[in-house]
Every structure is written in C-alpha cells, then in structure tokens.
Amino acid sequence: MSDMDMEDDGSGIVKKFMFLNRKAPHGTVYALEGLEVVLITAAFDQDVSLVFTDDGVYQLMKGIDTKGIEVKDFSKTYRALDGYDIEKLYVDQTSLDARGLTEDDLIVDVSVLSDDEMKNLMDEQDVVISF
C-alpha cells in the first residue's frame, strides 16, 4: 500500500494542482498531513504549486523548535521539496505584511506574490486543494 509505488495513473495527463496552506502549524494537523499529499502529487508528475497564505505563511518560519510541545518538527521537509521536483513555492505579500514578516524570516526561497498575482495563479489551476 505504498503510495510512492504508484507514480503513474496511466493516463499521461498533467494537470495544474495548487495546494493552498492557510493554517498555522502545530495548532492543527493540516500543515503536517497536507505535506503528504503534496509529495504524492509530485510523484504523479503533476504540475504542483504550493501556496502559503493567511496563517499558512507561519509554516515556513525559521527557528522552529518543537521539543517543548513534544511533537515532530516537520519544517525541514519544506527544504527537501526540491528533491521531489516541487519548485513552485509562493507566499503572498499581504499575508507576510499582516504578520510583520519578510522573506528573510522564511526557511525556504519562495516567490512573493501580490494579490493580483495570487488571483491569476489560482484562476489558472485545474485542481485546488486547501487546508
């Protein structure tokens, strides 16, 4: 039942999948469990965009240390996404600004988008999965 073995659904179709992360890490499981489907989608050779908006931008904070709450630190996974051919990472400027954050605060390189760029990106997707 390993997901990674099923890299091809046989159809040869490539669709644009957007994963929209809107939740902070740790308070809920969505950030952690959501990463799993992102990795599998890339293994199916689909066109994956990973977007962080609203509290989702907090997932990418540098300096996360989860020892005190005794849960897994999965923030390093974001740095390994390259290795899975997931290269389209986006964050929106409005969400960073509202949280007093800049690109320098984030653990990975991302493209920072304006609201208009976010709208266009979202509209051109075939499938949007949001947490």
């Binding site: 099923m6 179709i13 689909q46 999965i129």
Partner: protein, 119 residues
Amino acid sequence: MQFGILINEGPYNHQASDTAYLFARAAIEKGHTIPRVFFYHDGVNNSTRMGEPPQDDRNVTTRWSKLAEEHGIDLVVCVAAALRRGIKDELLAPGFRISGLGQLVEMGIQYDRLVTFGD
C-alpha cells in the same frame, strides 16, 4: 460529469460530511457520477461501523455506505491518517476501503471536478 469529493472532517462534530453527502446525492440526481469519495485527516472517522447515533438523528456512516452501494461509489480512507487515528480494516462499514493518497491524486487527474468539504 465526474465529480470527486474530498472530506477532511469527522462525522457529527462538523457539518462537512453532511454537506458532502447531500451534495453527492444532488449530483447523482442531476445525472452526474461520483466515482469516488476520499476521506482525509479526521475525515477517516466517517468510516467506522461502530457508531450508534441517537435513534432520532441521522447515521452519517450508514448513509455513505448505502449511497455507495446504490451508485457504485468507491469510499476510500487515507491509510496514513487512518493509522494515526486508529481506523482499521476490521472497523470499516460496508463500502469503505483503506488505501493511499495516490487515490486522491488520481481523482484530481481523472475527474472533471474535485470538491473539498472540511473545517
């Protein structure tokens, strides 16, 4: 059209599974097909056959089983989310099966639409 449905929350605590069910039924009534429903995160808790809601309330799980039987819907429970939460094969209601997230990705690739219900 073929619609895929993704359910991210458990039964009763959130309305998500109810809305998804009523959406699915309406889609079928309009001549669309729902080849598969995928249960992710706490959504896996929809699949246990052990639930016994009060007599005057709906049984969310039984309702999915029945709709699946009548219309050939594949009810797939995410294996990783299920393991974490203690949903095992021996607890599954009729029509549900446990499989990988690849089944969700396939829905996105193959079907015309994918609609998410959650919290």
